[in-house]
């Protein structure tokens, strides 16, 4: 809502935004762990990098020669992740689905320069998807004169029953492209019971506890693909915080804060780790627009 007010002020009043030069200190270096693992039979990736000065135009420097593994604490099974490209440690599961053990506790262990960084995550259940459908966007909405038909998609999903709160990250792709805007960090607690509506209104206006899906506009022959990733409550808070920090401007900007982490830095090192480790169960569905 506050963003909306700022936006309207920007449109209606005299406000403006423009880039400026700011001189910033060069901060200490951090070890950044990006470990979002899921239970699908696709290649799983963990990215390790060093943070860089804020205005650096380079990608963050990759962390080489680390040993990375994930252990299932229930069964004791260990899965090593091998560095394939610069800083990217991967594991391609076979048919046995090593990360499919619902409610099991998994540990991530990263050894770098003989220091052992640890994190833990429980694989939680995801929501059941009934279907995805599409409907024509009426021409009068915002662009009254349009020749091509435009579509919005609607996800029909059902939150698992029970008293347990479920937290989800809903990711959407148009064809193969993942929507990667800040507003595409669609988070939900318990979804809604039944239909998850498409949103013409402001995305994520009321998270928590209910969520609107910020679906984009689709055109004929497009494919809409939706994934619901289960996340932990802490991961939900981490993503919420990240979303606020990535774009935190305007009249109602919040005091900037550092995003939380679940990676434990050993006392033996000054190289502090940040980032997140999450184990997700994923449900998917897609639809082809004719």
């Amino acid at each position: 809502m506050k963003q909306l007010i700022s936006f309207l002020l920007l449109g209606v009043l005299l406000a403006c935004e423009d880039p400026v030069q700011v001189k910033l200190d060069k901060g200490a270096t951090l070890l950044v762990v990006d470990a979002f693992i899921n239970n699908t039979a696709t290649t799983q990736r963990i990215r390790l990098s060093f943070s860089s000065p804020f205005f650096s135009d380079q990608k963050n420097t990759p962390v080489l020669n680390a040993q990375v593994l994930i252990r299932n604490e229930k069964t004791g099974a260990v899965v090593p992740f091998i560095m394939q490209t610069q800083g990217e440690y991967t594991y391609t599961p076979d048919a046995t689905q090593p990360f499919g053990d619902l409610n099991a506790l998994y540990s991530l262990e990263i050894t770098h320069n003989s220091n052992l960084y640890k994190a833990q995550a429980v694989l939680r259940r995801s929501a059941g998807i009934d279907s995805v459908n599409f409907e024509v966007i009426p021409p009068s909405f915002s662009q009254p004169t349009l020749t091509t038909k435009r579509y919005a998609c609607r996800l029909w999903a059902k939150d698992s029953t029970g008293l347990l709160n479920d937290y989800y990250w809903i990711k959407t792709r148009r064809n193969d492209t993942l929507f990667q805007d800040v507003s595409d960090i669609n988070l939900s607690i318990d979804g809604t019971n039944g239909e998850v509506p498409l949103a013409f209104g402001p995305p994520n206006a009321f998270t928590p506890p209910s969520v609107f899906l910020a679906f984009k506009t689709y055109y004929p022959k497009d494919r809409c693909h939706v994934e619901i990733h289960s996340i932990s409550k802490d991961c939900y808070l981490f993503l919420l915080q990240a979303r606020n920090q990535i774009s935190n401007g305007g009249l109602f900007a919040q005091t900037p804060e550092n995003v939380r982490t679940n990676i434990i830095t050993p006392k033996t090192t000054n190289l502090k780790a940040v980032g997140w480790f999450n184990m997700a169960a994923v449900t998917t569905s897609s639809i082809q627009i004719p």
């Binding site: 809502m1 506050k2 007010i5 309207l8 002020l9 449109g11 209606v12 009043l13 005299l14 406000a15 403006c16 935004e17 423009d18 880039p19 400026v20 700011v22 910033l24 200190d25 060069k26 901060g27 200490a28 270096t29 951090l30 990006d34 979002f36 990215r47 990098s49 943070s51 860089s52 000065p53 804020f54 205005f55 135009d57 380079q58 963050n60 009254p144 809604t192 039944g194 239909e195 509506p197 209104g201 206006a205 009321f206 209910s210 990240a242 990535i246 774009s247 401007g249 305007g250 009249l251 109602f252 900007a253 919040q254 005091t255 900037p256 804060e257 550092n258 995003v259 939380r260 502090k272």
Partner: protein, 782 residues
Amino acid sequence: MIRILTLTLLLFNFFLEAQVLCRGKITDFETGEPLIGALISIRERSLGVTTDAEGRYLLKLEAGNYTLQVQYLGYASINVPMQIKKNTLQNFALVPVLNELDEVLIQDQNPARQLKSTEMSVAKLDIKQINKIPALLGEVDIVRALQLLPGISTMGEGASGLNVRGGNSDQNLILLDDAPVYNSSHLFGFFSIFNPDAVKDVKLYKGGIPAAYGGRASSLIDVRMKESSAKRPTVNGGIGTVFSRISIEMPLIKDKAGILIALRRSYLDALVKPFVPEQNPLKNTTFYFYDLTAKAHWMINPKNTITLSSYIGRDVFGASIFSFDWGNKTLSLRWNHVFNSKWVWRTTAFYSDYNYLLQFGRNSDDQSFKWNSLITNYSLKSEVSYLKNDSSILRMGVQSMFYDFLPYDAIGNFGSNTVSYLADSKYGFEHAAFISKEHAFSGHFKTECGLRVTLFQYIGKGTAYTFRDTLPNTTRPLDSETRYAVGEIIKQYIIPEPRLSLNYIRNDRQSLKFSYNRMSQFVQLINNTASSSPLDIYTLASRNLKPLISDQVALGYFHNFRDQTLETSLEVYYKYFQNQVDYIDNADLFINPTIENQLILGLGRAYGIEYYIKKNRGDWQGWVSYTLSRTERLMRGISNDNWFLSRYDRTHMLNVNSSYDFNKRLSASATFVFYSGVPATFPNAKIEIQNYIIPYNTDNLRNNYRITPYHRLDLGLTYHFKKNEYRRYKQHIVISAYNAYNRRNAFSIFFQAKESNPQQTEAIRFSVVGSIVPAITYNFSF
């Protein structure tokens, strides 16, 4: 020893014989409204008093022949020889002399009186003075005018409220004819809710706050509404760029009762509409405010006067898919009773409410969301003043206030599913008793000692939450909940608040003042964003949220030069806050019943030097104010547990305001301000997670940088059209340019990934007023 001396002096005064009383009321000759703070002096003796909030004065003299001099800014002074043999009632009516420049005294109050009173850290602005300041969009605004005084700052355009000596904007007790106002701004802070046509004057206390007032930690902003004319109907109005206003004053009973009604309505949305492209979804945005201010008074007899004041205002903001509106309502009824020449009794009952309603979709729609929040306040205050003699005044009274806060009541309708979120209302009582005594020991030494004792009760029906302790700056887990029945006391606090002011008057031109005051605050605004929005809510002190307490000492040196035409003051202050609120990282303040575990209570301190020089007579008038200050906070778990700068900290603040009268009809004015940039937390590193670039501050320091300094020049030109001697119709036109040299002052600087290349980050300056704002306003009265 001093006590014995005081007592002796008191007794001595008490037994003085052959004293008579001269009392009366000073009014405006044209409109009949009372003049507050007018000076009545006896030329034969160095004796003078000022009129109170009803325009009344009281002099105690030995019987004899005297010449009474009556003075008030903007009015011709009068000298009246009088034979005062017995108790006398003598009213005076002063003639306004607005266009007769040689005789005008444009000064907020008599500079000599200012010097001699115990008041310090007080800024009083008269509406005529405010009218001279070039204004944003040509509209005179009281709150914006106050920002030009020393020690007062704001976060910038678009930020509602004021920060007084390092205090948050919710630490100002804003009273509109005694009723507190919770949101004093329209259009997200661009204008205040006070209609200048209906305001008589405004007084801001930064320190030395009288014992009769309490409930906020930093300041008292006392806005007095104008009393209606008692002689003939008058219409005032203006047509401006942003809004138009009209006010009507008319007598109800000749010389005894009258009413004033003032209305404003903005039309910014209609003006902007032609410039919004057809396809833009904002095309049909409505965005306006209106307000109605009214005051009626009735002098039943010379001993009893009743006044009724009310304000109703609302901002309405909406488009096809949503609507959002908010506003205040106040109503205050005051009864003044004069028992005799010494005892005056004043009783005020008031009601104040603030509410907002936010709605997406309509009830009939497939999906909709409706949310409202409400603050209601009822109070009764009764106080007596006892004027023992010219050198001693005793004031005492009691006040009771009832709070009823509904934090949120929301209904979401998502297809077949309806979700409702209804918070428990929060109830509280704030009872206070106060006493203060002003006493002049000799011509050189004056004191005002006071005590206010406040009892705050947070009462049921409600739930008290107990949280477990955990790491600082994280959500404390809920341990237990206790339900309380209607009227049961959940938590209570008793806070004694001593107040003290001392004045050493060296001579007519110099004085040295000292003040100490303790203030407590039981309602706090919950908001962790740069500017407070109308959606922010107030919450009551509870078991977990302890009342905010501030202690302030100030020392000031006052010196008037050149026959009182140049006033200067130098004040130093130190202020210490306990239970200052801050927020944990990732605080969830939205529809959260356990909001209290999202707060951190810590310490605050503010200190500074304020310098003020003002020229108050002549063609050329104006003032310069400069403040050197620091405001800091200490919170567990924030900024590595070190003191950090508050976001209201401004090292340097310079205000220059001046006006020049070319002749009786044409005048020009200019305002220049320079403020150090506000502190801000900037990142120094970036981290990459899931292809998102997230800013990070590896030192973990809060407010480690400052944004660029703020400076601005405003210009104004006022032309009074020639007045037809046979007609009452008067008109003048105001042309103004706000931000005359077109500077883009940063409201904030934030950081983000570039749209063109997400790997590259950039700093973005957000300016609320990014260009020069010219305006023209036409004003009339008849």
